[in-house]
């Protein structure tokens, strides 16, 4: 970004689940219509926007490691897309709305499903260490070593973690099913 541009930025905090790509895309488009253009997002869902002229900008999310590799990003640029922001595997591409037709990165359900499967794989893999730790831990000695309040604390943290994970996984599976059935795409 060049220095002569309006530097004023605002930040927002807004949580989204992994399966809520369409919701994020719609929200970012609404923001752009108000002149707030995405420049940064971090894994804790803090979004940074640059104030500029209101514009109808279409956002699309892609997920996957190395998805912004040279060949792919070149193709995206050729097709008129710009990488607005990226965070932990997520890539936020945007392009101005033109000719009344919403541009898409993925135009068939098979490639859309693959995007969610990549996310699902990462999610499940990231949970494996915690899961293995839970299974392998010596629960007997844990119970005798820890005081009751700290034991309750550990249990609550674990339960919260696995419930969140389960919700995220189920959300993704439902999203994949919706994408696969042609009526909703």
């Amino acid at each position: 970004m060049s220095d002569d541009q309006d530097k004023s930025t605002i930040t927002r905090f807004k949580l989204f689940w992994g399966h809520q790509d369409a919701e994020q895309e719609a929200w970012l488009r609404t923001m752009a219509k108000q002149g707030l253009h995405l420049v940064k997002v971090n894994p804790f869902c803090v979004w940074t926007f640059r104030r500029g002229a209101p514009a109808d900008v279409v956002y699309r999310l892609d997920f996957g490691k190395g998805r912004a590799d040279d060949g792919f990003s070149q193709l995206m640029q050729d097709a008129g897309w710009k990488l607005a922001a990226t965070t932990t595997g997520w890539h936020y591409w945007c392009t101005p709305m033109a000719n009344g037709r919403e541009p898409e990165i993925f135009t068939d359900s098979a490639s859309k499903v693959k995007k969610f499967e990549r996310l699902l794989a990462i999610l499940v893999c990231s949970a494996l260490p915690a899961f293995v730790m839970l299974v392998m831990s010596d629960k007997q000695s844990l119970v005798s070593d820890l005081s009751t309040p700290s034991l309750v604390g550990v249990c609550i943290i674990y339960a919260a973690y696995f419930l969140t994970l389960a919700y995220a996984v189920v959300g993704l599976l439902l999203r994949i099913r919706a994408v696969r059935s042609p009526q909703t795409t």
Partner: protein, 112 residues
């Protein structure tokens, strides 16, 4: 070379157009534009879908990378790709004939 047509066919509409557009070597964006004009705007292939299709088709040996300039990979049809396309066209031609036949019979019944 034996080709397992059962595994490769039928081609999806997008894949079919990718192969049919490669009567000359093309890079991704040129191919996207060509498919859109070939199909009279009916088939639009997004860059994400096309990039995935390139990867799959290259792995299946239906297309091959012939050059790379400024990060733009140019692909061409292989002889296997041409044979798969030919077999798909042959099957589509049968489908079209059958459909036209059925419609002509129905048209005559309506007229009678």
């Amino acid at each position: 070379m034996d080709i397992d047509f059962a595994k490769l066919l039928p081609l999806s509409e997008a894949t079919y157009y990718v192969l049919a557009a490669l009567d000359e070597p093309l890079h991704g964006y040129a191919l996207m534009q060509k498919v859109e004009s070939m199909s009279q705007g009916k088939v639009i292939i997004g860059p994400g879908t096309l990039y995935g299709a390139f990867g799959t088709l290259e792995k299946q040996g239906l297309i091959e990378k012939v050059s790379e300039e400024e990060r733009r990979k140019t692909y061409a049809l292989t002889s296997k790709g041409r044979q798969v396309l030919a077999e798909q066209v042959r099957r589509l031609a049968i489908m079209v004939r059958n459909g036209q036949f059925a419609l002509s019979i129905l048209g005559k019944e309506e007229a009678a």
